[in-house]
Amino acid sequence: MYLYAEHILVVDLKASTAISGSFEDELAEEVIGGAALAERLLAEHADRDPVVLATGPLTGTLAPGGSLCVMSRLGEGGAPLHVPLTLFLGSELKYSGFDAVVILGASAAPVYLWLHDGIAVLEDASQLWGLDTWETSDTIKTAKGDEVIQVLAVGPAGERGVPAAQVVANYWSTADANGFGAVLGAKNLKAVAMRGLGILDAEEAEELFEHSLAMGEAVATAALPGNVIQGLVGGAPDSAACDEWLAPAVHRGKGCFSCPCRCFTYVKYNEPADELRSTDVAEPGCLLTDGEAVLTLFRGGFSPEEAGRLLEGAARRGVQPQACVAVAVSAGAHTAADGLAAIDGDPSSVTPVAPMAGTSDERVRAGYVLGVCPVFLATSESPATEELLEAVRLGTGMSLDAAGLQAAHADVAGDLSPRVV
């Protein structure tokens, strides 16, 4: 089956098993992938407290902006909630040999899941338990001898069941406002580590390649997000002032796999922001991924450096940045130390902020299924849905049309705002 990794992994944490099964053509043609695939797998394993990671057919290709769907339910009978995660998580999972991973039950002892070359291993995580996400990612990368392993990590907040505990991408906060960090923490699953060295073949390889480059060339890159403020909360009345405030700490913007945007902004506060060399300072700053949180800290009277430190603290703990910032600001904090003290003092009070805001944008919803970042689709007029469909047709050989795509994403529940990814 072209453009897919062709495998779905089912991990039973209670039984300590990981079984890779075929992703059958019939299922792919029905659900396409991404959030629709995740929802199907969630329903299939409903009685085992599932969490699903799922890519789409365009994840890992040159279609701009790949993403990874994470989906679960909070509580028995709850509606499926999902979040599209970016950076390099989706492409890494797919190149590692799996289109999707279903995580069932709970492990008796802390473990992490290690995926590479179509192989899945549950590794002992007793030495990782209690570590923050930065330490967790560093430890796994060092143990495996590969610095570009992608780690979906749970911080101490997830281990302790903090309501706003989120899953973290290597070192950086994500858009997870559903408390998935606490969900994985309750499963004793500290991390999912991925390294992908596989290859995705296309049905019409050259045609898809040219089509993908043409889609990229048609994107008006000058109008795309250039930093964490412009991209995610650019419409706010004080966003320009926030930009100006943050500027002295800004090191450099960063994009995600195959995407022209720079939605994320790295700030430095442990060495000069304009230092471009790799110095002896091992941890010079933090990648800001949540524009709403940055804006709140600006309004709350933080300096950009202290804002960066506070958001590093949120990422290390594995707490949603907006939740962290809300507690810090309401406690009257103006420094990272005071803000983090307020959070650590009463972690149970750190609840998710704005976890749900549905979108009816058909193109963005299509992205959930195809594995294309919703922020990219929400901020770029190109490519059109039909062009994305053509990419799927060329890549997979499936005769997918707009009605089929709409049917696949029509039932995807728990939509979230595309403002933050």
């Binding site: 040159l62 610095e147 022209p260 471009l276 790799s278």
Partner: protein, 115 residues
Amino acid sequence: MTAHLEIDPLLCNGCGRCEIACGHYRDEGYTVTSSSILLYRADEKKNYFGLLYKTEDELVAARPDGVQVRRQGEPVEDSSPGGKPILLRPPCDACDPAPCARACMAGAIVVAERV
């Protein structure tokens, strides 16, 4: 006369499209294992990313603090394990049009000509 890439590492946003495009030119599939150009992303905690590029004779390290060109076999200053994979890759064969440059949406890669 050899086609040659000129890379501006400060324009690079670290998306890796160049690497995937070159890999596709080599293998007709999407992979990070076979390109002559590589997104250097090992120092993620420092946001220190750039591109590594291999020709028949040279290894080009286009990093945020500048572009270093070394003859094959010469050490690259401040090298780290993250740069090792480029040594195993095939050298750029100066294909035209260069898919890495076409795929780059940030304008970080241009094809120049030199004697």
